[in-house]
Symmetry: C2
Subunit: 269 residues, 2 copies
């Protein structure tokens, strides 16, 4: 999917919502356990209930790997069920030496057929660039994450006074363009968004951390929008676990609609 | 496995070799394709040929994920086939927000039953500590990796003049002890080993980068040994792809034996 196509989806739906399909087996509603593949059935109903309200889906791989080979099967079936107009993100946070990153890239872009994969920057250029060699596919590089631990290293000032996450964003722009590279910037750092936009005015930002993690959609949007929107804001637990009974999908829809309506208003400004 | 048990294995075998089971499907000998699970068969023969010469096996997850669900099945069967006295490392380089890292930890320590998993530090404390909560299990944290890209961020000087990888090693020692935490330090940085040993005198170091990547076992051992050895030196391609014909396992054994003999001599000093 191109940057223009993604912006067009955002305009037509009045939404820049990404729904995180973090289908934790221990938290999905118990009545689904009667299905052959409860995780897939959970995702199928969540997708059905939210697909007109969001532009992207983001399964976090941890929740599937924890189930072993059958988790991978659930993931494949889920991915096949997501409508083609949605942007799909493998939240995998991979990154390894060059020849190994190439294999990860094949796993997510070929064996599976995701539009994007999240990548960790610690190992530098040759760990990231193998993911950039796939036509129409995207790298979403961790810059400033939403968790408490983001303050341990990412915000550390370098000798020149620039925090590590800034250096990551600047260096990465030498490796890939705004048509193939996005950055993760957590909603829990609203005060950093203006600086982030100075460093990367054109790039899409994937923003986790609203909902369960407490980030503020208004603040993120006010400081994070570029001329075309340029944001994908993710909510996982706040939507998919809004309910835990037989009506979980309706509850998820209501939670997603609340976010989407707020987004539609913000996009009008 | 405890630190003492691992040192005992090293002494009794005269080896601190870790064999990297990076069973790239495109590189395994073609005659194995007649088996139901060629990757498992490859690993089975490699393990049979090298088990008396090494103390650890390290499959890199990328090579299994690239095969989808059947790759995970190959990995599970491989792991079950590794003798109990060997230390097993899931080279996964994972790391995510707290609730997600916990799931990855369960994937590698419970769904699978690895002794250790490699973890990336970029996301900080709450991304690493969930892996430390498993009795008898180990975290191997990326500090200074073996690839060219390790020079992009890991060696960057902070405001206080200390490179990032040093800060990672110092902070991590607040999270876990030398009985549950190791560090990855690449053999391609022999000049850094003395400094690394000043920062972490007691910790095991997992050292990739000899063989195909050009690191020097003599230099690494001279500067990296602590009083008990304290090194696991990995070779992947240099051993497992030493041959590509029907005698690949014999070739692998010969390559492993060459390294082990050098290690036995180094351990005597």
């Amino acid at each position: 999917m191109t940057r223009q196509e993604l912006h067009q989806q955002i305009r037509s739906k009045g939404s820049y919502l990404c729904v995180g399909l973090d289908a934790d087996f221990d938290r999905i509603p118990r009545h689904l356990l009667k299905y052959d593949d409860p995780v897939y059935e959970f995702n199928r109903q969540i997708i059905h209930a939210t697909k007109d309200l969001c532009v992207a889906y983001k399964p976090n791989l941890a929740f599937y790997e924890a189930q072993g080979p059958k988790g991978w099967a659930s993931l494949q079936k889920t991915l096949a069920h997501i409508p083609k107009e949605h942007f799909t993100i493998a939240d995998a946070k991979r990154g390894d030496i060059g020849n190994t990153s190439r294999l990860y890239a094949r796993a997510f872009f070929e064996t599976l057929d995701f539009d994007a994969v999240t990548v960790a920057p610690y190992m530098g250029e040759d760990s990231v660039t193998p993911f950039l060699g796939f036509d129409g596919k995207w790298v979403i590089l961790l810059a400033l994450t939403s968790n408490q631990g983001s303050r341990d290293f990412q915000m550390d000032k370098q000798e020149n006074g620039q925090p590590l996450y800034e250096k990551v964003m600047r260096r990465a722009q030498e490796w890939g363009s705004a048509d193939q590279l996005m950055f993760v910037v957590g909603a829990t750092h609203p005060e950093q968004f203006e600086e982030v936009r100075r460093i990367a005015p054109e790039h899409f930002l994937l923003v986790p951390g609203i909902g369960a993690q407490g980030g503020d959609l208004q603040a993120v949007s006010r400081h994070g929008f570029n001329d075309h929107c340029g944001l994908l804001v993710n909510s996982s637990r706040g939507i998919i676990f809004a309910g835990d009974g037989e009506d979980f999908a309706e509850k998820a829809r209501a939670a997603a609609m609340k976010v989407q309506k707020e987004m539609a208003e913000l996009l009008k400004r």
